[in-house]
């Protein structure tokens, strides 16, 4: 048994992969709780796709990909917040147009590269086994930043997630809080790209929180369970992918999806109204 548990750790790249999986799983499922309650999942998916343009542009200009992805992701997040508040265009339409457009720009630029680029392709589905020592530092530092801001804004975030209008009337800066959350969401997505990739990051944002939502009835237990599911599934999924010789990002997402459906069945059996 211990062989099965520890075998993967003989490789240094696997050690790094486990750290990355644990941190990214925890981070995504924490912010994912707000994503689910504030119904931002489509925005999360959109930001992830748009950031691909940033990655390709960063590659073309020889800049670090984190920088390119972060700039584009944060700008898109702020732009979305703006459209959302103004409300002239329907939000899902704006996201549908802008983000597929930005994603197409990334693919377009990549396809014009002289050689087919495996590195860039990797960002679509993530490659957690390729996480470098530098990546780990970036992931951990950015994650700490996101966690600290989330902790500082715990109450305003909770209040505005439930009732933004009344919160604002009582003096909570609702608009500011929602912009900060979008920026944190953008940073979370950038941190997760290497590990799970653009296409699958939305699942890691939404599924653990949606699972916890079904099994709990108050905010704090929901947050705690979401984090537990996200972290556990990320690590377990990485183990599975190691032994099944499968893509790790996809294995992790399949695992949380399976847990989601189990939770749905459990809830149905308990027949709990909520």
């Amino acid at each position: 048994m211990s062989d099965v548990l520890f075998a993967p750790f003989q490789y240094e790249f696997m050690q790094r992969a486990f750290v990355a999986a644990l941190v990214v799983g925890t981070l995504c499922s924490t912010i994912g709780t707000y994503v689910v309650l504030r119904k931002l999942s489509f925005i999360g998916d959109g930001i992830a796709h748009a950031s691909f343009a940033g990655i390709v542009i960063a590659y073309l200009r020889g800049v670090d990909f984190y920088l390119g992805a972060a700039v584009v992701a944060v700008l898109t997040a702020i732009g979305i917040g703006f459209v959302n508040r103004r409300g002239n265009v329907s939000l899902d339409t704006a996201i549908g147009v802008l983000f597929t457009g930005a994603f197409a720009l990334g693919v377009f630029l990549m396809s014009r590269l002289p050689t087919y680029n495996v590195d860039l392709q990797g960002f679509l589905f993530g490659d957690i086994l390729a996480v470098s020592r530098t990546d780990i530092v970036v992931i951990v530092v950015l994650s700490c930043f996101v966690f600290i801001v989330l902790a500082l804004l715990y109450r305003p975030l909770l209040y505005t997630s439930f009732d933004p209008v009344v919160a604002q009337a009582s003096g909570v800066p609702a608009a500011f809080v929602s912009y900060v959350l979008l920026v944190l969401l953008a940073l979370t997505i950038v941190v997760s790209l290497e590990a799970v990739g653009i296409v699958l990051v939305a699942a890691l944002l939404v599924t653990p929180a949606a699972t916890a939502y079904q099994l709990t009835s108050r905010f704090r237990p929901m947050l705690a369970l979401s984090v537990a599911i996200g972290a556990a599934c990320s690590v377990a999924g990485l183990y599975l992918s190691y032994y099944l010789h499968a893509a790790s990002g996809a294995t992790i997402v399949l695992l949380v999806t399976a847990v989601f459906f189990i939770a749905m069945l459990v809830r149905r059996r308990r027949n709990r109204p909520a």
């Binding site: 209040y159 439930f162 209008v165 009337a169 109204p273």
Partner: protein, 231 residues
């Protein structure tokens, strides 16, 4: 307006009662002029100063929270971001629940509340905030008669303790006896002052007759001017 006063805003549907209340709460900018609350713009006030109870609560009732959680949110604007709930905070929340007779329902999931209970939960949250100005948008809409009486009595108590209250209502008959000051609006202020005086004036009579006979339709121009002259 003065401390310990209840100001009523009456007017037909679509007359801007709710919008006026939102402007006082700092949720919408006035299209002309400015609003001062305690000598400042509403948004510049210390957090927790204004408590607002909207007419229709467009919240997600499946939000993972029970009654206590929601009422406790009323404390948030008053608290340091990282300070834990103090004994005072908890006492205030429990007292607010008690005042609205929601003590027995404190652990009830909010998705399980009736319309009247939802409304009481939100009034309790507003009271738990210990505001310096309470704004209520037709708080008695959709609640049963017993709840309505209890709610109005409670608000009257708060007023007696010195809390200024501004409340919109469509209940013109009750408005006359209930408020210290009455404002009649229909896109502009038609009358403002002592309820008895406003009651005597054409502004009140015109709108009452109008509401009773025409439902939601607007006063015609002649009625407007007549009402305005009388006011």
């Amino acid at each position: 307006m003065e401390r310990g006063q209840a100001v009523g805003i009456v007017g037909p549907n679509g007359s801007g009662k709710s919008t006026l209340l939102k402007a006082i709460a700092g949720l919408v900018a006035p299209s002309a002029g400015s609003i001062d609350v305690f000598g400042k713009a509403p948004r510049a006030l210390r957090p927790g100063t204004i408590a607002y109870v909207p007419q229709v609560e467009a919240v997600d009732w499946n939000f993972p929270a029970n009654v206590y959680d929601v009422v406790a949110m009323g404390r948030f604007p008053r608290m340091h971001p990282l300070a834990p709930f103090s004994k005072h905070d908890r006492d205030v929340v429990v007292a607010a629940l008690g005042a609205l007779r929601m003590g027995d329902l404190r652990d009830r999931q909010i998705s399980q509340l009736s319309g009247g209970q939802q409304q009481r939960t939100f009034v309790a949250r507003a009271i738990a905030q210990e505001p310096e100005l309470l704004l209520l948008d037709e708080p008695t809409t959709g609640v049963d008669a017993a709840t309505e009486d209890a709610l109005l009595e409670l608000i009257r108590d708060l007023v007696a303790k010195g809390l200024p209250v501004v409340m919109t209502t469509h209940d013109l008959d009750r408005a006359a006896e209930w408020f210290d000051r009455l404002m009649v609006v229909d896109r502009r202020v038609l009358a403002f002052g002592d309820p008895a005086t406003v009651l005597e004036s054409g502004a009140y009579a015109g709108i009452r007759e109008h509401v009773h006979t025409h439902g939601h339709a607007r006063l015609d121009a002649a009625g407007y001017d007549a009402a305005r002259r009388d006011a």
